[in-house]
Symmetry: D2
Subunit: 385 residues, 4 copies
């Protein structure tokens, strides 16, 4: 029997964390053939090149593709998308997948979905249907309208995909894949995490057996010039608390310069003795970090999904996660140093929450591989109204 060829696209380190269990389940399935394309931020040293990481997991990479145009501004984001289409169409033509899996809502995902659409290759979309209050949301729903098979994380998102006119027979709530990975990690391993401070981190070495905060703050694309202001409010709150803090640098994104600059100045000028910085952190270190932190602070979706699943308190700042379904572990705040500080104090006082399975139970990858195996793709879509 001819195997169904399923192409997984990885464009950031975070993508790989989220797709790893899907990839493993595809590879293990005798009726499926896994194809892997790695590109964009995932192959740039500055965002943490993961080619080696994937190869360490015994996953063969079919193509490595550079497509990011320098500038980290709106025009180069558009150009990167253009280059991505150009490149991925050649890869698809030569690899001839039976389906392509794209993830969530990054700008290049829409580009890749477009390439697949025009080439009549069915698209399976993971983590569609969510609302988030940023330009990503338009991109996410736009990808939904091009996709043939939908793997939302939550019932909420699944419902929204159906309201967007997608055939309910193509919508499967599978949970969030990032929880699959977490389920397999030794969450008590604080020692290794501390070891990473020496290897790849910047700043003082912190004793993470003592209570500590974790911060991740990403730029918000359409508020380009405000990003510096935003991050500075967070910095003020952290400076007031003076608690041990692990700060993880933002992903690439148009506008990252504003946010990054704020962090860089904080690090270089203030040289805080209680903050350790990571450019990025592999999930096997990030998960224990998140499990054991007194509070995760910023606007990362991991504060909502993974932290909810782990019961870790979270202070979520600003609009980036607007509209996402959330468990009890979240306190939402504005871009306001005082408010952020108080929310963190409240969370520390509260301590851990009960685990919540709104975003999945750690079996998403298994479900996705099985559904793709059985699904009969029809390239022609029809709106349901």
């Amino acid at each position: 029997m001819r195997k169904k060829k399923v192409c997984v696209v990885i464009t950031t380190r975070g993508n790989y964390a989220k797709m790893k269990s899907v990839m493993k389940n595809i590879r293990q399935n005798p009726e499926l053939e896994l194809q892997v394309i790695v590109g964009g931020g995932a192959i740039l040293p500055k965002y943490g090149n993961i080619v080696g990481l994937i190869e360490d997991d015994h996953m063969a990479i079919n193509r490595v593709i550079h497509f990011l145009v320098e500038g980290e501004n709106p025009v180069t984001m558009a150009k990167s998308a253009g280059l991505a289409i150009t490149e991925f169409s050649t890869a698809f033509e030569n690899l001839r997948p039976d389906a392509v899996i794209v993830m969530a809502d990054r700008f290049e995902c829409l580009a890749i979905a477009m390439a697949a659409t025009y080439m009549n290759i069915p698209i399976a979309h993971v983590e569609g249907g969510e609302v988030s209050g940023s330009i990503d949301e338009s991109v996410r729903h736009s990808i939904t309208k091009l996709s043939h098979l939908h793997f939302p994380a939550t019932e909420d998102a699944a419902e929204r995909i159906k309201r967007l006119g997608e055939d309910p027979a193509t919508v499967f709530t599978v949970g969030c894949t990032s929880l699959d990975v977490i389920s397999e990690i030794d969450l008590a391993n604080i020692e290794s995490l501390m070891g990473m401070q020496k290897k790849i981190g910047l700043g003082p070495l912190l004793d993470l057996h003592k209570p500590y905060l974790a911060v991740i703050q990403h730029p918000v694309t359409t508020e380009y010039e405000k990003n510096l202001f935003h991050v500075n409010e967070t910095i003020k709150a952290i400076s007031a608390l003076k608690m041990n803090t692990v700060w993880i640098w933002p992903n690439m994104d148009a506008g990252s310069d504003g946010t990054s600059k704020g962090i860089r100045v904080f690090r270089e000028k203030s040289r805080p003795s209680y903050v350790h910085f990571f450019r990025s952190l592999p999930i096997e270190y990030y998960a224990p970090l998140l499990k054991n932190t007194a509070c995760i602070v910023g606007n990362s979706s991991s504060g909502i999904r993974e932290a909810g699943f782990l019961g870790t308190p979270c202070v979520n700042i600003g609009t980036r996660q607007k509209g996402r379904q959330r468990a009890k572990n979240i306190i939402d705040t504005d871009y306001n140093a005082k408010g952020i500080e108080e929310a963190i104090r409240t969370q520390i006082k509260h301590g851990n929450y009960e685990p919540d399975y709104t975003y999945g139970d750690g079996k998403a990858g298994e479900r996705i591989a099985k559904i793709i195996k059985d699904f009969e793709f029809a390239i022609q879509k029809k709106i349901m109204y």
Copy 2:
């Protein structure tokens, strides 16, 4: 006062016909500044280069952009989209429009919408919300999800856009712009149309004062290899009727080769004495052709919109116009020579229908310019559920 800069993108001759009244109304409005980008098929001689045509209408062109990759197949369609993003992002960066108007559902329109999205330029989408039963439909709804202002032609389409989660305050039913142009043309001018047979047509010169048929059949993108079969059924029907017939070549599109080949073989091998061929026909000749034909045959949307407005009988073949709202002038048929032939005979017997305004009243361009002038664009969109 600073004028609002509105950029209109023209990528096919048909685009220009449809956008001309919008462009004229923008140009005449003292609060608006018109920017025009012409590219793709619109500047290729083989599809009828319209740069001269636009200049004859005293419209300045700001940029001429080539982006079509040769091959007329799925992979080059994707590549063309990639190149379009690359090119349009530079144009947008240098022209800095306050809004971009994109038209309908061609593959490059999604690319252009993507470029605008990433660059935080609001998008006004003309003719969204329609259903058509082809890959264009996915593209059209995907553009809707990126757009900030919607100009559907019909109430039906407007309703669908709202159900897709767009804010009703951004959806304006304006009618179809192609009817604006028709309203200004001398529809009785059969003489000029006959003159065009000598100038740009191929085949015998027909006397169009006598009853004649008009045929336009486009390839259907996702049924690449069936296009030859489809067009041959139409050819058989026309061959059986042996009535004077004006046949207009299909647009570029992945898959056009199948359809074009069928027509080319028919023309070169059968050399029918009763069929005149045009590569394309300017709207000022096409409108009288459509007004005075005994029946318009094929799968062009003009059989539904313009013919309905003019009361011209239409035989619509196959799936391309599936789901479009239609007036009484339409008989739908399958790809079946016998069925097509009979439907044409029925329509000839019936003769003209009453005009129908489902698709507009000829004032769409005026409305669009006015609404754009007054509209306060918010780049951040929100799904309505």
Copy 3:
């Protein structure tokens, strides 16, 4: 032992004819690994897609790459080069060749050489050093300045490469590869050639056992608008002679429209009963055609190289082959119908010439493979003065 990976790039049908013996010799060499990239005109049906042809020769293709931008004009020629670099750099990154072989002087060859240069991949250039009196000449010498190993066809060309400052130790006169292929073909096989008229030709079937002419006329890039005039002079000469004539369509090239249009009008309007047209002709049919024609007419380099080797009379028109070394079989003429006609008459009267080995003896491919195997590439070049 690790094999040396040698990547051959094929972008036109003619390329393949010329590279086939090189490819065969590389594939047969146990110390070399052949990589094949096919793209551009070579994979477009309208120029004669050769993917199947290569596969029939049991040569595996590593990548298929579309890069031609539609328009056949100067700007799209530049854009095609840009796309070629983008695409070939990804292919090179994934295939990691130890050397790339590029051919002659087409615009995409410089693009491909540039991609290799920037990626520190050594370049072997076949057929450099020639003069031709067109923009190709600048391109050819520019490629020479990027190349690390040179395989000129003639001593003349080798001398010129050295004068361009290339290290004499890197310059090897090997003869023209196109003669390799001809050496292996049954040149008496007129029957098969006649059979091709039915299969892939257009126009009346000619009896090629009787004396016949062969015509190939390419556009001359920098004289874009004159191409139509040029081809019409040739058409007049052919029309005056009214001898059986096999006419082969020009390659893609900016400006091909002028030339092609002239030929198309001649074919469709005059419908000459004595001319048979081919879009293109595989070398196994072209070689017998050339061997047995009374005279080869036009501006193809095959009139100089292959015809010289075969002793076939040639009337070479215009500037395209200016400066190329030539045997006694050539009469050069201007773009002038009368002059062309007379030159053809003179050649017919003269009949065949003695074979000439200025352009090679049919062993070029063998030599090239062997030299590449032994050559130690140094990426850093040095001008010799």
Copy 4:
């Protein structure tokens, strides 16, 4: 009379310094029209965006073009070239220059020259004909073979261009344009330079009235992995001398990571109290820096050209400037800390040299504008042998 449109391309801050006098002279000439395209590193904040700088000089910018693909490695360098061709061809099509001026030997210059070549736009090449012992040299000579008018800086370079087969009537020795700018700067203005330390520099504020060193060390493209080692030798020498030192960061270039990393580690780990760092320095500050330094150290061409003209001692390290004609102010050394240190001590002891005009007298821009005005470009080139 129709003005001759001359398009100047600026892709780095250094380009602008070198082209400013040419641009001023073109703008002032009533028979010429200046077109300016700025792109690549010149518009990236991290290399010092110069759009504002050009506008401050009352020079209108016709196009801003992003074309650098992220990664700073060989494959993205190639891709950047591809994107440059794509972008510049559209710009050229819309601006329609009568000639394009390209500078020296950066990888994008060959791309831009290629775009012009294919579009039949004559190219004037500034600073061709030099030898330098790196991949830039192949690129430089390759550009020469595409160019129609040559403006070498020295007699030496002019001679080499002629030997490359260029028509002597197209070769004009004009001197180096960078000396034009220096001639207009107040070279005694140490105060402003010191002020820049606060504004845009990093590290301790140095008193530059006291003797100081200046360092600029660029990566050497084809020795990618050795760049870290190379820069560390220089760092050791500087650390041994412990003299006040102004260190200027390298340009973007494939391989810059190795060099930049060495510098970054030096700065962050050693925190030398005697070294001030600049990302880049406008020429009006750089010229006084160079005039007044005790010795310029590294591999910048400014150590040879500008320093020679100013009589400033220079220690030139490694192969990057290999083969360039040089005045008496240079001591060449290997990548060897001890050797570098000693050479610097020798230069400090020697003090200033006599000015040398090998590289020009400060009137290059004036000459270039005048010659371009009078030159009759012929697009068709011919090799001179």
